[in-house]
Symmetry: C2
Subunit: 221 residues, 2 copies
């Protein structure tokens, strides 16, 4: 009976983490929509979502603590709960990146909306897909899917590196475009960090599913 | 008897986390020394320390898991172990920031070593002091000291914002200095993130020492 209740609580924990992931993903989408449309009211939505994301992070951590206190969990459950704690922290930081992007979009609002040699929406789609796939891998306990997330990260890193060079060149040629270019450069780095968080999540899934043996081959945890 | 062994294991865990903190801090110091001296052999030291930091992160997580599996920990111990798990992840990311800085220093090696309107070593000292104080607060279970770390973060953020504006101006006036300026700008942001990790650690200490009631007033966990 206790075991059934424990299993139910694990499921509740997973469900809350999915809500957290949805909120973080939505925050990124909104920040990029604000970038694409230069609609500052959408930035406001991003800022307002941050306290809710932080609150949910604390709730999930508390649920994890309660589960750890409830009964002596088995090793596989411990690994699952540890993964949830890590993934939760990463999702909260994805939300932070959305806020950082929205801050930059607001800064850019003071300058002409020019075409920049960087495809921010494409980077954002990739980074968001990474987060979504990492969470899907988590729900389905699919280590192979998690592994595919690690490959996507290379693409995001390449786009970010390319943006660095193309924006540097633009600034040198047209210094008057420095403010827009620098803000776009920082947004590009923010998205690269979203990809890093998705990578962390994917590595946690691999650790949870495959156990401790894989961790020595995987960067970070 | 089991309780004494458990307490001993908690102490071991704390001691390993301090080793982890020392490694992360040393990586930052070396990266900044590389920046100040433009000695690329120091960058190599930073790159070589990364696998060791990652390995220790995994060891500490495993110790935390083993402790959670050992016996039914009390609530205060659970909060402690959860804090260790969080702090451990933050320290690993401080190490990542050191690597990011070293990559930038290596890039800057191709360009003239000019005076830039940004005091990177000062920012680094502040950010390192934050990490050290946050860990000291953790060792001494001192929530007030942890609280003081949060204030230091405002200083780091201000320096980072000031660097953004002064480097933007420089680039506009002297576009030929774009590569150095952009790399310095990114190093500044890396240091700001070290400050953010120290802030996360300080918030964990406050949570651990004061318990769940404070978490609703504190950003993140």
């Amino acid at each position: 009976m206790a075991r059934i209740k424990f299993q139910q609580s694990l499921d509740d924990l997973k469900e809350r983490l999915l809500v957290m992931a949805g909120m973080a993903e939505q925050a990124i989408q909104r920040a990029i929509e604000a970038y694409s449309t230069r609609d500052l009211s959408i930035c406001e939505l991003v800022f307002r979502s941050e306290p809710a994301i932080n609150k949910l992070e604390r709730e999930i951590d508390q649920m994890a603590l309660d589960l750890l206190a409830m009964e002596q969990p088995m090793a596989i459950d411990l690994r699952f709960i540890l993964s949830v704690i890590h993934i939760n922290a990463d999702l909260e930081r994805v939300g932070d990146q959305a806020v950082n992007i929205a801050v930059r979009v607001r800064e850019m609002g003071a300058f002409a909306n020019i075409d920049l040699p960087i495809d921010i929406p494409k980077m954002a789609l990739l980074a968001s897909a990474m987060v979504r796939k990492a969470l899907q891998a988590f729900i389905e306990a699919d280590a192979d899917l998690a592994q595919s997330v690690l490959k996507l990260d290379d693409q995001v890193d390449e786009l970010n590196d390319a943006a660095f060079y193309s924006l540097s060149s633009l600034i040198k040629e047209r210094p008057e475009l420095t403010p827009q270019s620098l803000n776009a450069l920082i947004i590009s780095r923010n998205l690269e960090r979203v990809g890093d968080h998705a990578t962390n999540i994917a590595e946690d899934v691999i650790f949870w599913v495959r156990g401790a043996d894989v961790r020595h081959n995987s960067k970070g945890l």
